[in-house]
């Protein structure tokens, strides 16, 4: 027998948050993947909405590219508001 394809499961919890990756499962098609995701990942009210995507369709950055991709952000501390000290007497800013 051939393995059913692998799907990644994303669930939106109650509080208006974005869908979040929770795990994966095998299913023959998308409809079955959603049904199985409901049984495997939402037995205790964990969510109000499910997304599934074929694992094969997800492209990820390579661990080796970590520095090239993310290191440039390290020396741009001025992107954070705390970079600019404000005098105590200046309010509401």
């Amino acid at each position: 027998m051939k393995d059913w394809p692998l799907w990644e499961v994303f669930i939106r919890s109650q509080h208006g948050l974005a869908h979040k990756h929770v795990g994966s499962l095998h299913a023959a098609d998308a409809e079955m993947a959603i049904r199985n995701a409901r049984d495997v990942y939402t037995r205790r009210n964990e969510g109000v909405s499910i997304w599934v995507a074929r694992s094969a369709d997800i492209h990820a950055s390579a661990p080796g590219d970590r520095d090239a991709l993310f290191e440039p952000a390290n020396d741009k501390v001025y992107r954070h508001p705390t970079f600019f000290p404000m005098p105590d007497e200046v309010k509401h800013i």
Binding site: W4, G23, L25, A28, D39, V40, R44, A60, P63
Partner: protein, 329 residues
């Protein structure tokens, strides 16, 4: 534990001086408590050890459904039946989280199931004992799931990300399992003398096998030392076993049940309970396949897999047909 005596495939714990630059960088990440993720470089022995351990763990969850499933149709009330079904369904879920975690290491689901059925991979010794009465269902929840929690909480900090994340989900759900078991024991101990003696008999049956779940003392084991270095294993078998005894004996006292161990005594100096010798011959015999239910459990697993083959094939054929139609349209 749910994964007992996991072979790391190494003859001795690697010394920093013998490591390749990649291995050194890997060990440094582990030492810094940075999680290892599926696409990161990892030593082959680390990958194989994790596959072995997660797979054993997953199989244990799945085989563990059998002794309890045995009682779904005979649970003493509708409420108990619904609760037991929810618990058994959780075990299926736990098996699935863990199979998926193992798959991120490059082993297929089918391969894992074939290896279990061929007897190449083990599951926990505990599931080879029979559930003779309803009290055994209570004892399993209280003791077996209690021992499982003891082992799984440190695994939430395991160095491999997908395994650690699966363990966090599992631990959240496992607590319900232990409490429903203790609740069954409380009801029986509050009941008629016959019901209380059923509870005692179940404790007598499950106490020693539960202590065996943690595996033999591993102080001298190279595999345990290597797993500890990789932060796959964070506490020794004996440490976990001692914690389990210390937390469980007062619970047995509360129930008014006697732990079946004449050597059990509080040691004020150590601040722990001393307890008797475990029969390791029995443990090794069960692992080798000679427990009371080994053959039965495997027969049931293989039958379920084979009987379900046409459903799996049909679902896939249906999905492929619909896909082909959608393409043609």
């Amino acid at each position: 534990m749910y994964a007992q005596m996991v072979d790391t495939g190494v003859a001795k714990v690697a010394d920093v001086a013998e490591m390749s630059p990649e291995e050194r960088a890997f060990q440094a990440r582990v030492d810094d408590d940075i999680r290892i993720e599926p696409k990161d470089w990892m030593p082959e022995a680390y990958r194989r050890t994790l596959i072995r351990q997660i797979q054993q763990h997953a199989h244990s969850e799945i085989v563990g459904m059998l002794p309890e499933g045995n009682w779904i149709t005979r649970a003493p009330s509708l409420a108990r039946k619904a609760i037991l079904m929810a618990k058994v369904q959780d075990e299926a879920g736990h098996g699935l989280y863990l199979y998926c975690a193992a798959e991120t290491l490059g082993v297929s689901r089918d391969q894992m199931i074939e290896d279990l059925h061929a007897g190449k991979v083990k599951y926990s010794s505990i599931f080879n004992y029979p559930t003779l009465t309803w009290a055994d269902v209570g004892a399993i929840g209280w003791l077996v799931d209690g021992a499982a929690i003891m082992n799984q909480i440190p695994l939430c900090r395991c160095s491999y990300g997908p395994y650690a994340r699966a363990m966090i989900r599992i631990c959240k759900e496992e607590s319900f399992h232990q409490r429903q078991g203790f609740d069954i024991m409380m009801k029986l101990c509050d009941g008629t003398p016959e019901q209380k003696s059923m509870a005692q008999a179940a404790l007598d049956r499950w106490w020693w096998p539960s202590l065996m779940m943690f595996g033999p003392p591993d102080t001298a084991s190279v595999h345990s030392a290597q797993s500890a270095k990789w932060k796959i294993k964070r506490l020794s078998n004996d440490e976990l076993r001692q914690r389990f005894v210390d937390q469980t004996v007062p619970q047995a006292d509360y129930l008014g049940l006697r732990v079946p161990d004449d050597a059990l005594v509080w040691n004020a100096e150590r601040g722990h309970y001393d307890f008797g010798e475990i029969d390791w011959d029995e443990f090794h015999a069960v692992l080798r396949g000679h427990g009371p239910c080994n053959r039965d459990r495997m027969r049931m697993r293989v039958k379920a897999w084979e009987d379900g083959a046409w459903v799996r094939d049909a679902a896939l054929a249906h999905a492929e047909k619909r896909q082909a139609r959608a393409k043609a349209a």
